[in-house]
Symmetry: D2
Subunit: 306 residues, 4 copies
């Protein structure tokens, strides 16, 4: 018998509400700081098609680094595991935008879920796709079964104007020969995919791909092989939360990915995908309410992948 | 219906035999270099009590770092999660005996499965136990249901004589105040638990604890809570293979732990524990045959935790 | 009685000729690789106005990082020691273009003679000067008493096209708030001053400023105070040769500065300035013939500052 | 005409007295914390035999790291520059007891004036000398022309009891093969030479060796060649003040060495040696009063080596 997910989500919502004022909204780009910091939403979607929601689960927000998982899935569906010649699969042990490791390791990013790794992924997508921005957006729209998902051009422009650290990373990668295209083109694509806006509902729907061994449920179509899906889940498990990846594995026990827009998506293979949103972040850049909500979820359900 | 594990193990044995000459036996201590480098064994034990074996699965070898998991389980059963005040749960992103991170992070080891972390665990065990060496051995004997498991005093003495890097780590931890007992006492315990000898059969039997939500099957006794077990599995998943933790998650997809004696143990929660032994190591210190055997196992069975 | 400098220079030339084929010309930008690698020149200029030359001492070459000393002298003459709020005076212990230290030290470059430090100096010069490029060139022309000294626009353009590592550094500094102007403007000025071409004669003449307690001999004008001059010499001594600063102090014993164009300038306070040129570099980016020639100089003269 | 050194020293004393309460006495070993923190002494000794003193210049204190210069001078007098096969001459850019660089650079310390480098020097001295402790003490007694100079056994024992970081360094060096003798023997010698007690008068007298091109004035005997002396001065200049070496060059402009006992010795080649003592240290471990006193000295005399 399936658990009563709706009751569980409601209980979680009650428990995380007191955290609503804890942490700080990302403000390194002005556009992100405009969000209402008190929002909270959560949506769980099972692989047999049921959806459960609480709070602001239908409201769109900036997915930021969660987009790295979509870009990775797309590049793997295009070129397979060849991508891992240019980017590793090891946890970085450092913050998401560190240049230190990149210098010691000669321009090969530790994994595709830190900024430098996602830039290499973008570089390959530029080579592989005719119209990268359009095709990536289409890919995500199909996964989420929602044609209204869009880039936020203001956020992308804001990143472009203030994203000096990312410009440093992209130029650094280029200096090691691990960016093949023009640096500005890569940054433009990277900033755009980070600016995509989706709701918890959209994200949970889209991440069912990874819970459903690579098949899009709505389209009944395999985008990834079983083996590829398993591997992407493993990468999310070990690398999806910057220098808090161990902590998330430890307390939540599911593969997932967070973004500085306050979103977190996780999945239980063969069961469900779940997305949370709470704009205030902890010191390591992960949503305070989201981290707690997902810890409560696996505790209350009594199941994790471990 | 349960898979035909015996056939799978035999097929794996055939495929890994050609790797028998690849890699090099650990030689940083003379005692370890004495092993026959061509050995290979594998044993899989299910939670419903069945065992399957190929090769030298009954032969004992030096478990080395695999012992860190036993020490961690024991300390958690003694003091609970308080241990994580003194050692983290994040992957280190560096090699198992690096001092660099320890300096930057003021003496708090990244996780309990690198050398520095295991020394802190040993330090706590010395405080908690009356006769640490005896009690730890008893604990492992119960887990493996084998009273013949022993320390190898020659290996422990060899480590003590040549283990300057470990002595550096222990003194460094002490300088940060994260070792409370005498440095030599901590090193002595640490070197002893590394010297324990077990067979693949013993290891698979003992690791059933982690596949069986913390209960010892033979004794029908809970040593760890469900939540503790889940968390230890998560730590193994993200930290069990030094700087190859991501690679192991990626290709194998199970929580586990390796040792420089050539052993690897992994487990599929609620299903089985599996141990392999092949003394030749890859550049990162993990058994060449073992890594390949476990990759083949989850591929052939078509299941991993992801 | 003054030493017979001319004989000393000729003896040195004879000894360094056999090194003519040792080392490799800088080729990270195509324009620099076009130089004739077998050139050698040396010029020594005393503070009482005598000049001594051997080899290609009148031929102009790309001064590259030697320009950092001129930029530093100019910024100190403009804003005094306030510049040291934004850049340190400590040796870096790492290579000239490392980003690692900059990350750990939050965007404050170790000293003004590594790339990052020189970029901060350029940033201040852009704020202080009406026409930075013109005024810096005029400053150097006055020091060297040679109006023909010029930028090489091809070299500057080549740096701009291929200088991704420098672009990474400048963006990284900007991300820490230690570049106030537009990143591209700072890089443009930085690449231009590196592209300046001077001969050994020009360089020795210009560096007399530092041997002559801050007074330009030809113009009889104080550009720097005695104290400022002493301090710039100290910075050259500890930081002028990247990660070979200690070696240069050890074997030569004079303050100086090298460039990847193969030039080295050094000075003995109150006595002379001396410049060498040999395009082939050792592994640390310093001229093979130049390093040897200057070691021979202080050995043969029997005097260094130590 | 020689400057009026006595008046200069008295003026300096007046200016540094107000700093008497600034900074903190070294307390990492209990014995050092027992000193009266308000002491100040200064002694300048010229190569033509004159001595000038103010304050507590005749009182002995723990020379600590200043002893590294004596050990280095002695090893160079024994084995010449062969010592530099096992230790570098580059500034470290990090603190005196960092293990980070040692790990990256495979056990070759950056220079002989950081702890790790001095331990390698001690290791060589153990091999070279019959009775290392006695002979080193004799060497220093001859340099200072004072037979009463002694080890402080309490300080050495205190270091031995609490010096875990140094024990970590020594074991780490041993693990790289850059300690040949027993680790404890090397540490014992190292702790002993650090425990030597000398006054400002003793230190200035002893350092005349380096101002006097390697000749002991009292004994009219050459212990070092001119070239060796020049090189040791260069090493002091670039490496004598941990991560404040650049600052000391910049503000004082003389080669020298500091110790956490609050002593600093510096020298002007061919002119004088000067020692200061003030137990309170700045954040980088150098005497607050001493740094200021020496800056005032070269400012008031209007001369430095630059």
């Amino acid at each position: 018998m399936s658990p009563d997910y709706q009751s569980v989500l409601e209980a979680i919502q009650n428990e995380v509400v007191p955290l609503r004022r804890t942490g700080a909204v990302a403000n390194y780009i002005p556009e992100l700081a405009k969000v209402n910091p008190d929002k909270f939403g959560m949506h769980l979607q099972t692989i047999d098609g049921q959806g459960f929601s609480v709070g602001d689960s239908g409201e769109s927000f900036s997915i930021q680094s969660i987009s790295k998982v979509f870009a990775l899935a797309m590049v793997v569906s295009c070129v397979g595991e060849k991508i891992f010649d240019r980017v590793g699969v090891e946890p970085s042990g450092s913050s998401f935008n560190s240049l230190v490791q990149l210098e010691y390791e000669k321009g090969i990013p530790r994994n595709p879920l830190i900024n430098a790794g996602a830039m290499v992924v973008c570089d390959v997508l530029i080579e592989q796709l005719q119209k990268p921005k359009k095709e990536i957006l289409d890919f995500i729209r199909i996964l989420a079964n929602n044609k209204k998902i869009c880039y936020n051009e203001n956020v992308a422009a804001s990143e472009n104007k203030f994203g000096f650290r990312n410009a440093a990373l992209a130029n650094f990668l280029k200096s090691f020969g691990n960016i093949h295209n023009n640096v500005n083109d890569v940054l433009d694509l990277y900033f755009h995919i980070c600016s995509i806006e989706m709701s918890c509902k959209d994200l949970a729907a889209a991440f069912l791909l990874f819970a459903n061994h690579g098949k899009v449920i709505s389209a009944d179509k395999a985008l990834l092989t079983k083996s590829q899906t398993k591997r992407l889940n493993a990468v999310m498990q070990t690398c999806g939360f910057y220098d808090e990846a161990g902590e998330f594995s430890f307390t939540v026990g599911l593969p997932g990915k967070s973004g500085v827009g306050g979103g977190i998506v996780a999945l239980h293979p063969h069961r469900y995908a779940v997305a949370t949103w709470g704009p205030r972040l902890n010191a390591r850049g992960n949503s305070v309410m989201g981290m707690r909500a997902l810890e409560l979820l696996t505790t209350k359900l009594g199941t994790s992948i471990f």
